[in-house]
C-alpha cells in the first residue's frame, strides 16, 4: 500500500488534472526530473533499502529534494513562486507514488528472491 505522504487525495488528483490542462508540459517536465533522479538513486540503494517503509522514506526525501531544487534562488517568494512550489510538490508526489511499486519490486522483491 502506498505511503500516505505520497498518495494523492481525490481533491489533489483533481488539482493535478487542472494543472495538466492549464499548464501544458509542466507535469511532464517535473515527472521527467523525478524519473531521472530515480534512475540515479535506485541502483545505489540495492541491498541498503530492504523494506517498503524504507522505499517510502526514500521517495519522500526525493520528492522533498525536487521541491527544494525547484525553489526560487532569491530572497522571499511571490505568490507565483508559492504556486509553482505547490504544483511541483503535487506532481512529484504523484510521480513518486506511480514509481513506487516498481521500486519496491526492484529493492524489496530482489531481497526476497
Amino acid at each position: 500500500m502506498t505511503d500516505a505522504r505520497l498518495t494523492l487525495t481525490a481533491d489533489e488528483h483533481a488539482a493535478l488534472l487542472r494543472i495538466t490542462r492549464e499548464f501544458p508540459g509542466l507535469v511532464a517536465a517535473i515527472e521527467a526530473h523525478v524519473a531521472r533522479l530515480l534512475d540515479e538513486t535506485v541502483p545505489r540503494l540495492q541491498g541498503l533499502v530492504t523494506t517498503e517503509g524504507g522505499v517510502d522514506d526514500v521517495l519522500t526525501r526525493l520528492v522533498e529534494r525536487v521541491v527544494a531544487l525547484a525553489a526560487p534562488q532569491h530572497e522571499g517568494s511571490s505568490v507565483a513562486d508559492d504556486a509553482c512550489g505547490v504544483m511541483t510538490l503535487l506532481i512529484a508526489r504523484n510521480a513518486a507514488a506511480r514509481a513506487r511499486d516498481g521500486i519496491v519490486q526492484r529493492l524489496v522483491g530482489a531481497k526476497r528472491n
Binding site: 488539482a15 501544458p24 505547490v86
Partner: protein, 191 residues
C-alpha cells in the same frame, strides 16, 4: 516558500496570477473518438465541422467538455515517444483567424506560463498558425522540453493543438511534423 497541499487542493493558487480555471465540467460528450485506430476526431456541439489528426500510439487521458458546451479539452500521451498532445477547442464572441487565435494564446501564455520560454518562433504551415518554443529548464530542473502549438480558426472557434516532449532532440522534430501534417478540418455532411 510555502509548499503544502490541503484537502481542497492547492489553495494558494486561488489568489494568484496562476489561478487555475475550475470551469470545466469533465462531461464527456461522446463526440471524440479515442485514437484506437490512430485517428483522433474532435468537435464541439453544434459545429458543422470536425478536426482530425493521426495520433497512432496515443492514449487518451482526458476528454472534457465545458458545462456550457463552449469549450472542449483533450489530453493524450504517447508513452513510446514521450510526446504529449492536447487539443483545445474554444468558442469566442467573435470570429477568429488562426493567427488571431495564436496571438491571444501567446499573450495569455506570456502572462502566466510558469516556464521561461526560449527560441520562440512563429510560422504558418498551410492554414495552421504555429508557435514554437523551448524550455531548457524549469526552475533549475533540466527538462530540455520542446513545445509547439498549432492553431486553427474557423467560425467563432479557436482550435489549439499543443505538442510537447521532454529530452527533445532534433531528430524528434519529425514526430511533431507527422502529427501536424495529418491535421484536417472536415465539414460534416448533413449539418
Amino acid at each position: 516558500m510555502m509548499v503544502g497541499i490541503g484537502r481542497n487542493g492547492p489553495a494558494v493558487l486561488a489568489g494568484g496570477s496562476l489561478l487555475l480555471a475550475a470551469l470545466w465540467a469533465g462531461v464527456a460528450s461522446g463526440e471524440t473518438l479515442a485514437p484506437t485506430n490512430g485517428r483522433l476526431t474532435v468537435t464541439l456541439p453544434g459545429l458543422s465541422w470536425v478536426v482530425t489528426l493521426d495520433a497512432p500510439g496515443f492514449e487518451l487521458e482526458a476528454d472534457e467538455t465545458h458545462s456550457d458546451g463552449r469549450g472542449r479539452y483533450l489530453h493524450a500521451v504517447n508513452r513510446q515517444t514521450d510526446v504529449i498532445l492536447s487539443v483545445r477547442l474554444e468558442r469566442s464572441s467573435t470570429g477568429r483567424s488562426a493567427r488571431a487565435c495564436r496571438e491571444a494564446a501567446w499573450a495569455a501564455l506570456r502572462a502566466r506560463s510558469p516556464f521561461q520560454m526560449h527560441d520562440v518562433r512563429t510560422s504558418e504551415r498551410g492554414r495552421l498558425a504555429v508557435l514554437e518554443y523551448h524550455v531548457p529548464e524549469f526552475r533549475g530542473l533540466a527538462v530540455r522540453q520542446k513545445h509547439l502549438n498549432a492553431f486553427l480558426g474557423k467560425d467563432d472557434v479557436c482550435v489549439d493543438m499543443h505538442l510537447s516532449k521532454v529530452r527533445f532532440s532534433p531528430e524528434d522534430g519529425r514526430l511533431f511534423d507527422e502529427l501536424l501534417g495529418s491535421v484536417k478540418l472536415i465539414e460534416r455532411l448533413g449539418l
